[in-house]
């Protein structure tokens, strides 16, 4: 459904993306994780045509993306990393404007707008200007703005930053429900537990290169399903594929330790650290 082919992005002499090839099949819940500056936002912005690739191509449903390709744009809902609301519009005006841009007459979208506002607890702020919302509220508004036209593909760049724990769970529910309708959801996050809770496929990128791209459980299997965490000058992690070996190792330690299941966070740490050491 989404296909990046050898996408490279150079800023002057810094390479932000280094020949990325990636395909995201229809109906996948796809998590893109990586440290700050890895190139996640750049990749998504190229998909959204906000940036042009220095070389390589991006296809959505076999159609090449570009600024005037309205057909592709209609299929996508996008929540950018930074706030992009019009400061002169109210919440309701923002939603009305979005529905008009996506060719939904207000009569038809009206109930949907109310439903979406209810969902994220913004209904009482319906007439507030977007500047009068808190940071988290703004982000939630951007999420429902992207949902207004019920796109086949939902792209979210760190959607849960600044959203409180309750609403984050609510957001997860929205995304899960959306995915269950057969839609493709692709998001980036720094909350690895979020990536683990949601994604069917996780792509780990660092310094513009894909390190790993697989199911979360496969990635965990790659470093070992059990982790021993202990402190020796600094916190150390050892991963084992059998719980028995982990216990044997843990018992040999003189310091305190924790023995637990490996998480995606361990995978993230292991792979990015390995790369730094290299």
């Amino acid at each position: 459904m989404i296909e990046f082919v050898n996408v490279t992005k150079k800023y002057k002499n810094r390479i932000a993306l280094d020949s990325i090839s990636l395909s995201i099949p229809k109906g996948t819940f796809f998590g893109l994780v990586g440290p700050n500056g890895a190139g996640k936002t750049t990749l998504l912005r190229i998909l959204m045509t906000l940036l042009s690739a220095s070389s390589g191509n991006v296809y959505v449903c076999n159609s090449s993306v570009h600024r005037n390709n309205s057909h592709v744009k209609k299929m996508i809902g996008y929540v950018p990393q930074r706030i992009n609301l019009d400061k002169s519009l109210s919440v309701l005006e923002t939603m009305k404007f979005s529905s008009a841009l996506y060719d939904i007459p207000y009569k038809k979208s009206r109930s949907r707008i109310e439903e979406l506002l209810e969902l994220i607890h913004l209904k009482e702020h319906i007439n507030a200007l977007t500047t009068e919302l808190s940071g988290g509220m703004k982000r939630k508004l951007m999420v429902i703005q992207a949902l207004i036209h019920q796109p086949d593909i939902l792209i979210l760049d760190e959607p849960s930053v600044g959203i409180d724990a309750c609403d984050r769970r609510a957001l997860w529910d929205v995304l899960r429900g959306y995915h269950q309708q057969g839609k493709t959801v692709c998001f980036t996050t720094h909350y690895i537990e979020e990536a683990q809770a949601l994604s069917q496929q996780v792509c780990l990128i660092d310094r513009g290169k894909i390190l790993e791209n697989d199911k979360p459980e496969t990635l965990i299997g790659k470093i070992g399903t059990t982790t021993v965490e202990y402190f020796q000058d600094a916190t150390e992690y050892r991963h084992f594929n059998s719980r028995k070996n982990a216990e044997v190792f843990a018992n040999s330690l003189t310091s305190n330790y924790t023995l637990r299941d490996t998480t995606l966070e361990d995978v993230f740490y292991a792979f990015t650290k390995r790369r730094i050491v290299k």
Binding site: R67, S70, Y78
Partner: protein, 244 residues
């Protein structure tokens, strides 16, 4: 076609701040009118006509230019660089031509609004202006040229500081030099020639012709239309560049 959505959104913006916009649109032209028209104009004649007849078309021209340019330049640059709300347009299914023409029409509206205000105020002070179809045509063309220049500058320049510089280096000199307050006759040859081809010179001279009762040169329409086309095409081209 979604031009109307862009225009609607800009109209909404206008509606919410029309008092500020109205006052801002009136202040500098009225000051020019007071200083150069009533202040200087009473005692000065130019080509044996009152200076007021000379300066008024210039002030109307620069009002249309300045308002349509700055309305769009400021708004689009702010949306693009500061609010990032311009990105929402770019990811939505709307064509670049709709974006360009939507903002162009919005800028023309803002420019004409200011022009009409200033014409009404001079009429209130008892200065008659011959509002002919040619007069209206030139005024509209003037706002179109500078709204499209404003759009082009706003999508090309990536920060507010340089936007300000562009205005200081391009717009402000035009305000004073382009046959607005003094006749280009007094300038040396090459300088006069080159300034006379600038769009604002064409507008002030054409409006002055109308006020003096002589016909507008078709050449002026041609020059202004060419500027308009160039700015529109350049604006479309630059709308495709990377966002900051």
């Amino acid at each position: 076609m979604k031009v109307h959505l862009v225009i609607q959104r800009e109209f909404n913006f206008f509606k919410k701040r029309y008092i500020k916009i109205t006052v801002a649109a009136l202040i500098s032209p009225l000051l020019y009118l007071i200083a150069f028209g009533w202040g200087l104009g009473k005692s000065v004649t130019l080509n044996s006509r009152p200076y007021m007849d000379f300066v008024l078309p210039g002030i109307i021209a620069l009002t249309g230019m300045y308002t349509s340019y700055s309305a769009i330049a400021l708004r689009v640059n702010t949306m693009r660089v500061h609010e990032h709300s311009f990105e929402y347009f770019l990811v939505a299914p709307i064509r670049i031509t709709d974006l360009v023409f939507g903002h162009l029409v919005a800028g023309m509206f803002r420019g004409m609004y200011a022009v009409i205000l200033i014409i009404i105020s001079t009429m209130l002070f008892g200065i008659p202006i011959p509002i002919t179809p040619a007069f209206i045509g030139i005024c509209i063309l003037n706002t179109a040229v500078f709204a499209s220049l404003g759009y082009f500058a706003a999508v090309t320049i990536d920060n507010h500081y340089d936007m300000n510089n562009f205005s200081s280096f391009v717009i402000t000199p035009m305000v004073f030099l382009c046959s607005t307050f003094f006749s280009l006759e007094s300038l040396p040859g090459i300088l006069r020639q080159s300034i006379s081809y600038l769009p604002l010179s064409q507008v002030s001279n054409s409006l002055r012709c109308i006020v003096y009762g002589s016909p507008v040169s078709p050449f002026s329409y041609l020059i202004l239309t060419s500027y308009l086309l160039v700015f529109i095409i350049a604006g479309m081209k630059m709308s495709k560049k990377d966002m900051v």
